[in-house]
């Protein structure tokens, strides 16, 4: 399945775009997505940490990703 990934902050710089599309297996997890992204965009590994949000909620590595979910890469936040 093709999944659109939203990127913010430094993740947007790393992807070179506010949104990228990635091809995932139908039963993919957040962990699978991170593995693929880190392979494709090695600079992700240099971040202090980063989270994945699924449908506007922080997701765990074992959570499943479904087609049409809204996926976003959340690098370390620094608001306030």
């Amino acid at each position: 399945m093709k999944i659109n990934i939203l990127a913010f902050g430094i993740a947007k710089d790393i992807f070179g775009s506010p949104e990228v599309t990635i091809d995932l297996a139908n039963d993919a997890t957040v962990s699978n997505l991170k593995y693929l992204l880190e392979h494709q965009y090695p600079r992700l590994n240099h971040l202090a940490t980063y989270m994945v949000a699924v449908n506007n909620e922080y997701a765990l590595d074992g959570d499943n990703i479904h087609e049409r979910d809204e996926i976003a890469i959340i690098p370390p936040v620094s608001g306030g």
């Binding site: 913010f8 902050g9 936040v77 306030g80």
Partner: protein, 146 residues
């Protein structure tokens, strides 16, 4: 404009335009209020001794509003407070401008102080908003790297 959400005693807003402290104080004030605690964040002219020219804030707006809402719900559950307001800027901010205002009203000051402190501390940890510091000779996304 930006995203704005009002739920009974809570107002949460992301805004591209200048924030106004008095408006926030007025919003949380009610006849039952005995004290209001307000936190005003301001843009500092230096980070670790290095001169900052300006800041740029970016938000994942929908999730930022929902995470701020969660924090206000936690604060209402923890302390006897009356109204909570969070206004946060996005876009370009110059030195001395206000990125964030948190206002909390309560019958008694302890609850207002404690809730306000909790809200700003938690916001900085969980709300998907990012700040880029622009220096004379470059720029850095704050907290991105170890």
């Amino acid at each position: 404009m930006g995203k704005k959400q009002i739920i009974l005693n809570t107002e949460i807003k992301l805004s591209v335009s200048t924030l106004n402290v008095q408006d926030c104080v007025d919003w949380v004030m009610s006849p039952e209020t005995g004290g209001i605690d307000v936190f005003v964040g301001t843009v500092r002219n230096a980070t670790k001794g290095k001169g900052v020219v300006r800041l740029e804030f970016e938000a994942y707006e929908k999730m930022a509003v929902s995470e701020m809402k969660k924090i206000t719900q936690q604060a209402f559950a923890k302390w006897p407070v009356q109204k909570i307001l969070i206004h946060h800027r996005t876009g370009v901010l110059q030195i001395g401008e206000i990125p964030v205002i948190i206002a909390v009203s309560a019958a008694h000051r302890d609850a207002a102080f404690d809730a306000c402190r909790y809200i700003i501390d938690t916001l900085k940890q969980t709300v998907p908003i990012w700040k880029k510091e622009i220096f004379e000779d470059g720029e850095v996304w704050v907290a991105a790297h170890p």
